[in-house]
Assembly symmetry: C2
Homo-oligomer: 423 residues x 2
């Protein structure tokens, strides 16, 4: 019996992946106008069918409450008129962005007369794996369609009613468009076994993008043979060197820690050079505490402040994602860089300094997707960088690193024009 | 006991990977001059110690012969003075290429005054997995060092004496350079178990590059959780449409098939549109047969020629890598494109045509790393494209696609300069 069930599971996955792949081929030929028209139609359809969507969403919310889902998760799961309106508006904004597909990145001629150019093309089929946030269903789908990619969505079982409703509505919109409706596929089977199968579906999927917490992402990275776009955790540091302007340093540290503590580009550790700490650490600690931040500090920090929790080894590697921060005092810039490279997650790292030498050293030696001088790590974001959209923030080094805009969902193709050349 | 052995195996791998990672950090800071000097020193050292290298290589050759290794594999394994000279010369040529590390790819300013730039940086640690070709040891090492990457080499057990000798010589050269000798690591344990462990060593390796046959590559792709740069098989097609110039079409088909049949960019199937076939197929078949090419043909081809082997389903998907070709006759351009997308390996595909419409359609719809008009597929090559070096030819869509030059061994970093900006 269990064998039969497995075959059934597998066949939904493979069948939908195959349909997505076939649709990807047709999608790749769509013009920017055809793709934008489809996005507009989805935007309209979401609002037209909002009652249906909210009714289905409330089923998930009821089941979630019954199963003891906490308030923060329920809030992420919840859709309402305002959130649907935001989704619909985001789709319209997306139509205004430049379509990267077809862009000629380089063109050159070889001595033998061959004319070679590099042209952006869609990736093909994108596998999205995400948690109980139905907005990702619409967000991921729209980014994929804009870039000519088909998408196979695998959301959480706890959002299945919402996701099915949203994909049904998207299909209703696509029926009125030139795009194939098979370009958007939702896996209704949300079992772990099928997810594991999806991780290894190299024949049909060109890339997997996990969106969610560190655990989900690591599960995908550690098990997938399909190439993964790793959007990762952020254990981000602010390093205040001895030349830093005290007002600016404290201002940036407060912002990076407290403006939105739950996000990956928030600061989790502050590293302070001793000469600066001697004069300004108490002021920094006080300012953070006034904002309600709980401080874990090393021996030096404990000496100079009240209510400091002793920081242990585990604090340096912790993403608190809350109003908590670890503070460490170092003698040298080298010591700070070594610490950051040891405990950081290669996301966003900042130095506050008035020394060009220290800044250039930090930029060169700190291994991270984004390195900052005299600015908050909170700017690591596709919108803040001016990309107009964001797939996620890559913490891996292949393909795309840092905030990923639409071009991260494309590949390239060499187009070679000859006049009969042979080798 | 087997547990103990496993620990020992694992510890060589992890220890060397850890050393490579530590060295990568130092390597990333080296100037172009320091890296080029090291390449020159390796070039000199290879020639100075050639007697030692050739003596060690002959041990592998003797063992290979004793174990019944075939002549073609023995030839790939063999080093001699001429081949060492070629390696030494290639190192000097590499010093003349532009160092991609440090290149500023883009720079822009945001309305809030943040100055953002994208800078090329090394990947970190590259894991190379390859077969019994000792030249890859030197080739891979030199490309990695030029781009500031450390390398963990895992060659074949049948080339272990050669590889150990070459790495020892490379270390002798690095001792005289500013580069850390730990940047080049050779795994002496060539067991499958350790290779499998290496496939999943995400904590230390930034990328795996398999170099060798289709089987090796697929083993790595299907088992690795470390990101892979897939350099793949080539089932390349020449499509001759009804408007093609007969002389040019035959010339290109002959070149793509026969100039070097054993390589991945050689042609394996020729697709001919019926109207052209009616007038010129016999001439094409005859020209191929005169070059010693064995022809597998569909029913139409069989009718018009002698000594045609009936082509079956399996022929369309076969990389002969020899003087054999499959020929299929189609009615339409669409039929040709569908066939190519079904059986091709997304490597290199050519159309021979005088119709702009057909060419643009082919360029748009054929899914391959390189698409050609009126030229031989044999040009898909880093040197032919003018890159001056080649890591391999990527058939995947993430990171790099097609011939990969030095930039394929780099990542990027966002460098953000502020004046106190907070969010």
């Amino acid at each position: 019996m269990s064998g039969t069930i497995e075959v059934v599971q597998s066949s939904e996955l493979v069948q939908k992946a195959r349909q997505a792949k076939a649709a990807a081929s047709a999608l790749g030929k769509m013009t920017t106008e055809q793709k934008n028209k489809a996005l507009e139609l989805i935007s309209t359809q979401l609002l037209e069918e909002q009652k249906f969507i909210l009714a289905e969403n409330s089923k998930d919310l009821i089941i979630g409450k019954d199963n003891g889902m906490n308030d923060s998760l329920l809030d992420r799961l919840k859709l309402d008129e305002k959130r649907l309106k935001e989704m619909a508006d985001a789709l319209i904004l997306l139509t205004e962005l430049i379509d990267p597909v077809g862009e000629v990145l380089e063109q050159w001629e070889r001595p033998n007369g061959l004319d070679i150019s590099t042209v952006r093309v869609p990736l093909g089929v994108v596998g999205m794996i995400y948690e109980a946030r139905p907005n990702v269903t619409v967000d991921a789908t729209s980014l994929c369609l804009k870039t000519g990619n088909a998408v196979l969505l695998r959301g959480s079982s706890t959002a299945i009613h919402s996701n099915k409703a949203l994909v049904q509505v998207i299909h209703h919109a696509l029926e009125k468009s030139d795009l194939p409706i098979e370009a958007v596929q939702l896996l209704e089977d949300t079992s772990r076994e099928t997810a594991s199968e999806m991780f290894k579906l190299n024949d049909y999927l060109d890339v997997l993008i996990p969106r969610g917490g560190a655990k989900l992402i690591q599960t995908v990275v550690k098990n997938a043979t399909v190439p993964v776009l790793e959007t990762g955790a952020g254990n981000c540091h602010i390093f205040i060197d001895e030349t830093a302007d005290p007002g600016m340093a404290i201002n940036i540290a407060i912002n990076a820690k407290t403006q939105r503590p739950s996000v990956c580009n928030a600061c989790e550790s502050i590293i302070v050079q001793k000469n600066w700490a001697d004069d300004h650490l108490q002021e920094l600690v006080k300012a953070l505490q006034e904002k309600g931040v709980q401080i874990h500090g090393d021996a030096f920090v404990q000496q100079g402040g009240n209510q400091i929790i002793p920081a242990g080894e585990e604090d340096w590697g912790t993403e608190y994602l809350d109003l908590e921060v670890a503070i460490k005092v170092v003698e040298t810039v080298d010591e700070a860089i070594t610490h950051i490279n040891q405990y950081g997650t290669k996301h966003s790292e900042a130095i506050i300094s008035a020394s060009n030498e220290n800044v250039e050293k930090f930029f060169m030696e700190v291994d991270a997707a984004a390195v900052y001088h005299n600015a908050s790590t909170r700017f690591t974001d596709g919108f803040e960088f001016g990309f107009g959209a964001e797939i996620g923030i890559s913490t891996q080094k292949l393909h795309a690193r840092g905030p990923m805009g639409l071009p991260a969902l494309t590949s390239t193709k060499y187009v070679v024009r000859g006049t009969g050349q042979i080798k």
